[in-house]
């Protein structure tokens, strides 16, 4: 199986470059730091410590999952092309879609390892010290799963930029820009629009949909809407309530598929 051949090669590379180790370490460090720092307000909200921990880790993951994914994905095509190894690879019978799929599986496996270990450790510690109910465990499982999907979105967007960029350096720059737009500027622009909006039509009917179209916001909304207590402790219940329940999951699940098709189309145009 050709996808598997690419997958195995990429896994070796990720392991040898210590990428899996580094990504796991980063997730672990941030998740643990947040769990301990965020343990203070538990009493006042009347929820267990794991719930608070999941709420703060949701915020963390919005920034970190896209960042880790883009860092893994930005040189997927441009790196091979700059090195000169892409031309040879493309003369083998594997199709370009298969090559991307193999790389994607390896990268998503690495992200999964990092997310499960990082968030899992934080969850275990929060449960140990502050207790955890069935609901908060479910919220943790949802956080891990959606974080991986969010990572998938930015992996395939990273591949797209990597195929479109003229060089690895350009791909790195474009990826940083993409991260900034989706994770920071998009929300700022929306906030600005809400403030400017005088009669409230935009804020009430358009704003939630524009917001959920962004995968990072869809991730946030999904985690918040699904868990009342998480919404409570993150204070974002308003936007979630204005949308039907399927909106955020649909957006977050559609993005990786569309992104992959986009990446494949861009990769097909690459002349090594």
């Amino acid at each position: 199986m050709r996808i598997l051949a690419i997958f195995r090669g990429e896994m070796l590379i990720l392991r040898r470059n210590l990428w899996i180790f580094m990504a796991t370490l980063i997730m672990l460090a941030f998740a643990l730091a947040l769990s301990f720092a965020g343990s203070a307000p538990t009493g006042t909200l009347g929820v267990d410590m794991l719930t608070v921990s999941v709420a703060s880790m949701t915020t963390l993951s919005v920034y970190l999952a896209p960042l880790l994914a883009l860092m893994m994905g930005f040189d997927a095509v441009s790196g091979d092309r700059d090195r000169g190894s892409l031309a040879l690879l493309l003369t083998y019978p594997a199709g370009r879609g298969e090559i991307l799929a193999g790389k994607f599986l390896a990268h998503i496996a690495a992200l999964t390892i990092a997310m499960v270990i990082g968030f899992g450790a934080a969850g275990v510690i929060a449960a140990w010290f502050g207790g955890a109910g069935a609901n908060s465990l479910l919220a943790l499982a949802r956080l891990v799963t959606t974080s991986i999907i969010l990572g998938a979105v930015f992996l395939v967007l990273g591949y797209t930029l990597s195929a479109l960029a003229g060089s690895t350096t350009a791909a790195a720059g474009l990826s940083a820009g993409l991260w900034l737009v989706f994770v920071v500027l998009y929300d700022l622009a929306l906030l600005g629009a809400v403030v400017m909006d005088s009669d409230g039509t935009f804020t009430q009917s358009i704003f939630p949909w524009v917001m959920v179209a962004n995968p990072a916001d869809a991730f946030r909304l999904w985690n918040i809407a699904a868990s009342e207590s998480v919404a409570l402790s993150s204070g974002m219940a308003g936007a979630a309530a204005a949308l039907p329940g399927w909106a955020a999951p649909l957006s977050l699940l559609a993005w990786p598929v569309l992104g992959f098709l986009l990446a494949r189309a861009a990769f097909r145009k690459v002349e090594p």
Binding site: M1, R2, L4, A5, I6, R8, G9, L12, I13, R16, N17, D80, R83, G84, S85, A87, L88, L90, T91, Y92, P93, A94, G95, E271, P272
Partner: protein, 303 residues
């Protein structure tokens, strides 16, 4: 044993045109390579050799003409299965070992070769479990050659295969190429190293500014070009001047005279020299080399 002279060509290119922006980099190139044939593709940098190879591999789009690899279109799955490629200055991911890289290529092509003996054959037995990042340029080139030998390619495209190899390795490389051709693979070698391909290929094609200006065996190219044969006569003591005068040749040092003559006049000239008697001590005949032919064909219309 395969019949190496007849049979349909493995690679058949007709009227190939390729543009880079507004510049035409290939002009109606026709080329074919038969099973077991070794074709040298010569030309200056930028003559279009690598472009032609990339077109055959289906890595770039072309604007006119047709390419067929065993009847299949370039870049199609069957064409890619039949073709092996050694890029100029081949490169791999530095984090993988030679063995791992070759194993990946084998899985991609659906072959189950003995990777260890393949690496031994190209002289990488000791380095196969080291990372490619620590390989020298010559070792990477050997690894590139090893992946050409995976499976049984019907067509092998080698772009400057000897770049970065020391003289001994070059000998090994051509031995392996001969073996490939012996097994019926059509081999196309793009090269600058004229003296090497001279003795090691069956046919020579020359590209100049994207136009094919020559395509024949060395002997026939030489005949067509009509380049002079060089006769070098060593004269007996102090007779060099006399011989130079009598033959119309040119004295090149104290005791030798050089005569240029057309290929068809060679025998007549030899008889004339023999008639000079004892004053001629020795004679060497130097036919035109590929270097002279290459200069002749690749500059023909410029002069």
């Amino acid at each position: 044993m395969m019949d190496n002279t007849d049979g349909n060509p493995v690679l058949k290119i007709t009227g190939l045109d390729k543009f880079r922006g507004k510049t035409q980099v290939l002009h109606g190139v026709d080329l074919s390579v038969k099973p077991g044939e070794r074709l040298a593709l010569l030309g200056h940098n930028g003559a279009g050799k690598s472009t032609l190879i990339k077109a055959v591999l289906g890595l770039i789009q072309t604007e006119g003409g047709t390419i067929s690899i065993c009847g299949a279109n370039p870049g199609s799955e069957s064409a890619r299965t039949d073709t092996a490629f050694l890029p100029e200055a081949v490169s791999f991911h530095p984090a993988l070992t030679g063995h791992e890289q070759l194993a990946m290529f084998a899985r991609l092509s659906g072959e189950k070769p003995d990777i260890k003996s393949l690496l031994q054959r190209v002289g990488l037995a000791d380095a196969m479990h080291r990372r490619i990042g620590a390989y020298s340029k010559g070792m990477r080139q050997r690894l590139g050659l090893a992946q050409v030998l995976l499976g049984r390619p019907k067509l092998a495209l080698l772009d400057e295969p000897t770049s970065g190899l020391d003289p001994i390795s070059r000998q090994d490389l051509y031995a392996i190429i001969d073996e490939l051709a012996g097994n019926g693979t059509a081999v196309l070698i793009a090269s600058h190293a004229l003296t090497e391909v001279e003795a090691r290929t069956d046919r020579i094609a020359i590209l100049r500014h994207g136009v094919k200006v020559a395509d024949d065996t060395l002997a026939d190219l030489s005949k067509k070009a009509g380049l002079p044969v060089k006769l070098r006569i060593r004269a007996a003591e102090s007779h060099a001047d006399q011989i130079a005068q009598q033959t119309g040749g040119r004295r090149i040092n104290g005791a030798s005279v050089e005569i240029l003559c057309a290929p068809q006049d060679k025998m007549a000239e030899l008889r004339r020299i023999a008639a000079l008697g004892d004053v001629v001590v020795d004679i060497d005949m130097v036919p035109p080399r590929l270097e002279d032919l290459y200069r002749h064909y690749s500059n023909e219309e410029l002069n």
